[in-house]
């Protein structure tokens, strides 16, 4: 028996390799720079440079792509316009996310604990704080996550998809646990996320194994071909497909696989929440899109009930539970669940339009999400002694924010209106194209439910706007809130606000890109 060394064409993988390489180099930087301040700065600039370089290369690849694209490693990875668009989207989220990772309060306090290994409340923790330790591993961890997600969007093989899934999930499990304040809550969130994540990974893996067992293929295309050529739908294939989808729906945060979302969002350090909310969802949606439109397209009849049921449940549960939340981060978590439902609506009609509308939707949603969490990062509690504490995430604490900081409150209002899908914001165009895809595929009842859910969701978005602008600062609480000024976080807010407006008013160029990306090298539209 002879083994043939696989030939690998490296060129199409350069953006992913840059990011993963930078992540590995980041680990070395940890060892080289002893001074915490220098190390932090080097890590930040290095990550930023790597992400920008990767985005640049991806853009060049987009411009010079020959034909519909190319496959690498015996069809395990496909680099087509769909993949490149998703990679760029994730890189954009990564850039904004890393800026938030690096942002510090005006008091010089980052969002991460000084030393993740210390027991909360222990002497070690106090010592670590006094010695001015800084946790800079977060940057390489984030880079690993970004690299894994980029891979996740481009993989076309069930086994390899699992590898990519773990590459981006593991760093996130760690990152969630690294909050500076309320560390126990953060640990709890991480553990929940990890256990449920492992559970869903198992689901996915089992599903992939069933598919392999039934068809003898592990590549998307191979499975697709045997499904197509089979006379009847093999129950094993169907079970496998449902389990694979369940594993991915977990990452998307769809009901009933959503229960990790609120805890993880609330417990995680806010920059991590921001990054995770935007990028994980994008990666999950990308993988789901590719699998559905490459492999399971012929199973529309068998699988659409599942997508419909999950979409309706996700929208309804996300919206209704968000209505009663009293914590900003939890509310945004449930709103993210509702948005997962809207994303699934685009799938509902199995229309090829979803290939362009889902990336656009995720782009608008992700940018607004990063912006919203960047605002949350800067609204902080102040104790009676005058020391600045953690983020003020109780809704009541946001009363009168419009008077305290018109800029932050105005930007937050814009992000919330974008979530709600009000015209002239990116969210509206996103919803419009997503719903168009569904109606084109004949799923108008699903869209009807989606618009009613949208109308209901406006209620809790607007409640925050009401609090910020119509409610006065409570008597005696004038000094209880500190509006932080952190240049990086401000920059993220400003960038996100500008992008939301551009995507809402002149989205033509981006829509063109998305339409160009609606071609899969292997799959329905390819």
């Amino acid at each position: 028996m002879t083994f043939v060394t696989p030939t690998i064409e490296w060129a199409p993988l350069v953006p992913i390799l840059i990011v993963l390489g930078a992540a590995a180099a980041g680990v070395l930087i940890e060892a080289v720079f002893r001074n915490a301040e220098t190390r932090r700065l080097v890590q930040f600039l290095f990550s930023l440079a790597a992400l920008l370089a990767a985005a640049g290369v991806a853009a060049i690849q987009w411009a010079t792509l020959e034909g519909a694209g190319t496959t690498v490693m015996q069809d395990m990875i496909t680099v087509d316009r769909q993949a490149l668009l998703w990679q760029i989207i994730i890189l954009v989220f990564g850039l904004l996310g890393v800026m938030l990772f690096a942002s510090r309060t005006s008091g010089g306090e980052s969002s991460f604990t000084e030393l993740g290994a210390t027991v909360p409340g222990s002497l070690d923790e106090t010592i670590a704080r006094r010695k001015g330790f800084q946790l800079t591993e977060v940057f390489p961890l984030a880079m690993f996550a970004v690299g894994g997600m980029m891979l996740f969007t481009s993989v076309t093989d069930f086994i390899f998809l699992f590898v990519a899934l773990e590459v981006f999930s593991l760093p996130l499990y760690i990152l969630v646990a690294l909050s500076r304040r309320r560390r126990l809550l953060s640990h709890e969130a991480s553990l929940k996320y990890f256990l449920l994540g492992a559970f869903s990974s198992a689901f996915y893996l089992f599903g992939a194994a069933l598919l392999y067992g039934a068809t003898g293929h592990s590549s998307y295309e191979g499975v697709a071909q045997s499904i197509e050529s089979a006379a009847a739908v093999d129950p094993l294939v169907l079970t496998g497909a449902v389990m694979v989808l369940a594993g991915l729906l977990f990452k998307l945060g769809a009901v009933p696989f959503h229960s990790w979302t609120p805890d993880a969002y609330q417990g995680a350090p806010t920059p991590v929440t921001a990054f995770m909310a935007a990028a994980t969802k994008a990666a999950a949606a990308a993988a789901l899109l590719r699998i559905v439109y490459t492999t399971f397209y012929t199973l529309e009849w068998e699988l659409s009930w599942m997508i419909w049921a999950v979409a309706v449940a996700t929208m309804v549960v996300g919206t209704i539970v968000a209505l009663v939340q009293t914590d900003m981060k939890r509310m945004l978590a449930y709103s993210s669940i509702a948005h997962a439902g809207f994303i699934l609506v685009a799938f509902g009609g199995f229309s090829a339009d979803a290939l362009s509308s889902v990336p656009f939707y995720l782009l608008t949603y992700g940018i607004a999400t990063l912006g919203a969490f960047a605002v949350i990062l800067q609204v902080r509690e102040r104790t009676s002694g005058g020391t600045v504490g953690g983020e003020a995430t109780r809704l009541g604490q946001w009363a009168g924010l419009g008077k305290r900081s018109p800029f932050l409150a105005g930007a937050m209002a814009l992000f919330l209106l974008s979530f709600a899908g009000i015209p002239l914001t990116g969210g509206f165009i996103g919803k419009f194209v997503a719903f168009s895809a569904a109606i084109d595929g004949g799923a108008w009842p699903l869209v009807l439910i989606a618009v009613i859910a949208s109308a209901a969701s406006v209620f809790f978005y607007v409640r925050v706007i009401v609090l910020m602008f119509f409610t006065d600062v409570p008597e005696g609480a004038e000094d209880s809130i500190h509006i932080d000024y952190s240049p990086l976080a401000r920059a993220v807010v400003a960038l996100a606000a500008i992008l939301v407006l551009i995507l809402g008013i002149v989205p033509g160029a981006v829509l063109d890109l998305a339409n160009d990306a609606a071609v899969l090298l292997i799959g329905v539209a390819g």
Partner: protein
């Protein structure tokens, strides 16, 4: 050619931006700046009115078409026919008056700036709606308008303002979002392409019956909420009671006309078969609105609520005229949209003057004012008479046209609607009697007479109503052709069935 319509849409929006960007030192003049922007807007519209070719009033004039988001088939397509012209004129006449009417309302300069900027923003969106020739663009204005309105209601006004603002928003959004489904579906039914949302490309679509009816319903629901029709009207009295009088006047006099405007220019034109299918039910609801609004108006103690219920009644008459599908009735309805704007706008303004004097909107807090402030009383009486459609004032002509026009198709409905007209006399005269006649309460002995500013607000409207009351042809000439076009679309296909 000068792009009148784009300028008309963009100017107030820029004005709003300018107000917000003003340095603190210049803000003391913010009212004058806002007023002059609206006056410039009025002059521009007036120039356009003069240049408008009356002989082809049915065609879109001053048309502009630029590609906007070609990827989803929408373009920045504006154009105006006689009907749109009337609505735009209404908007540009009432906005400066609303600013003038609320001249002394704020002492806090920041608050005043916000209020005026929001009013300007609202004006931009409402003009946009009346001149949009692209369904997507129409929808964008339709929904975007909710934001300034929501803030206008929620930030300024009485105690219940937040409740009213949320109620308004929820009602409007449910309607608007359901319409969005229809908008998208319409695109897929139509020819599609880069200009797939252009109204011209969407007429004469070969729908399946179910598709047409469902899309029609999604549009109609949104419009029925805007032009508050029973049973979707409940947001209006709450909003009218708590919002500022200027906001309410614009809302009822101009913005709610978007409902009837949409029915005329979108529902009837794009979905003629479905319109005929739904007409019997709609007419029933229209008649219920007429009677219900009138009866409830009689029972109101709050003048603002009272006026808003009268409007629900009047909107019923307009909808009746629209869905009777007769040349005269549709012409009448279109004319009524304009005249009702003048009359109700004026009525809200005058009620506002009374509220400023007494600090209350409750009818029982007033009495015997006729002797103290005869000019105010007279102004109120004339405007009230216009609301009850006294001959000689313009609403009379339009109401009669609707009723006569509709008689040939739906005589029973007309009989009931006429009852509503009779009831109008009751609620208006009762209000006048309680507020202006009888003994004068002590606190009202020194009530101020109408000031010059207040006369400037009310009298031009009265003048317009008198002119159009005696020479209705001045306005009808602009509305006849658009009405003809609509009727021909609705009835030609009837013959083909």
């Amino acid at each position: 050619m000068f792009p009148f319509l784009t300028v008309l849409v963009v100017l107030p929006a820029i004005g709003a931006g300018v107000l917000w960007a003003l340095p603190a030192s210049a803000r003391s003049r913010v009212r004058e700046i806002a007023l002059s922007i609206t006056v410039v807007e009025f002059i521009l519209a007036a120039v356009m009115f003069v240049q408008f070719d009356r002989d082809t009033a049915g065609a879109f004039q001053f048309a502009e078409t630029y590609s906007w988001i070609a990827q989803i088939g929408t373009s920045w397509a504006l154009g105006i026919n006689g009907l749109g012209l009337a609505m735009v004129l209404l908007a540009v006449i009432l906005t400066p008056l609303a600013i003038l009417a609320g001249w002394r309302e704020d002492t806090d300069i920041k608050k005043r700036t916000n209020y005026l900027a929001l009013i300007l923003l609202t004006q931009a969106f409402m003009v946009g709606i009346f001149v949009a020739r692209d369904v997507f663009l129409f929808y964008v204005f339709f929904e975007a308008m909710l934001i300034p309105l929501y803030f206008l209601i929620g930030m300024f006004g009485g105690l219940q303002r937040r409740y009213a603002a949320v109620k308004f928003l929820i009602f409007s959004l449910v309607g608007g979002l359901v319409m969005l489904v229809g908008v998208i579906a319409l695109y897929f039914q139509g020819p599609g392409g880069a200009q797939g949302f252009l109204t011209d490309n969407l007429t004469n679509i070969d729908f399946s019956t179910t598709a047409e009816r469902l899309i029609f319903l999604s549009f109609f629901l949104a419009f029925a909420i805007k032009a508050p029709m029973f049973p979707l009207h409940t947001w209006l009295p709450d909003v009218a009671e708590t919002a500022r009088v200027g906001t309410t006047a614009l809302l009822v006099a101009v913005l709610d006309k978007i409902g009837t405007f949409g029915m005329l220019t979108l529902c009837l034109v794009l979905f003629p078969e479905a319109s005929r299918w739904a007409a019997p039910v709609i007419i029933v609801f229209a008649v219920i609105s007429v009677l219900y609004g009138a009866l409830l108006a009689i029972g109101q103690e709050n003048m603002l609520r009272l006026v808003s219920f009268t409007s629900i009644s009047h909107f019923g008459i307009m909808v009746l005229g629209i869905f009777a599908f007769q040349q005269t009735s549709i012409e009448g309805a279109a004319l009524y949209m304009f005249n009702h704007g003048l009359s109700t706008g004026a009525l809200f303004f005058v009620v506002g003057f009374l509220i400023v004097r007494r600090g209350s909107a409750n009818i029982h807090d007033f009495g015997g004012l006729q002797k103290v402030v005869p000019v105010l009383a007279g102004t109120f009486l004339i405007i009230g008479m216009s609301a009850l459609a006294l001959p000689g004032l313009s609403p009379f002509v339009s109401e009669i046209m609707v009723l006569i026009g509709a008689w040939s198709t739906v005589p029973v409905a007309v009989v009931f609607a006429t009852l509503g007209v009779v009831l109008a006399a009751l609620y208006i005269l009762l209000m006048y009697q309680r507020v202006f006649t009888g003994p004068t309460p002590k606190g009202l002995k020194k009530t101020r007479e109408l000031s010059l500013r207040e006369r400037l607000v009310a009298w031009p409207l009265i003048g317009l109503m008198l002119i159009l009351g005696f020479f209705p042809a001045l306005a009808i000439n602009y509305l006849r052709e658009p009405a003809q076009d609509i009727v021909s679309i609705v009835s030609v296909q009837e013959a083909g069935e």
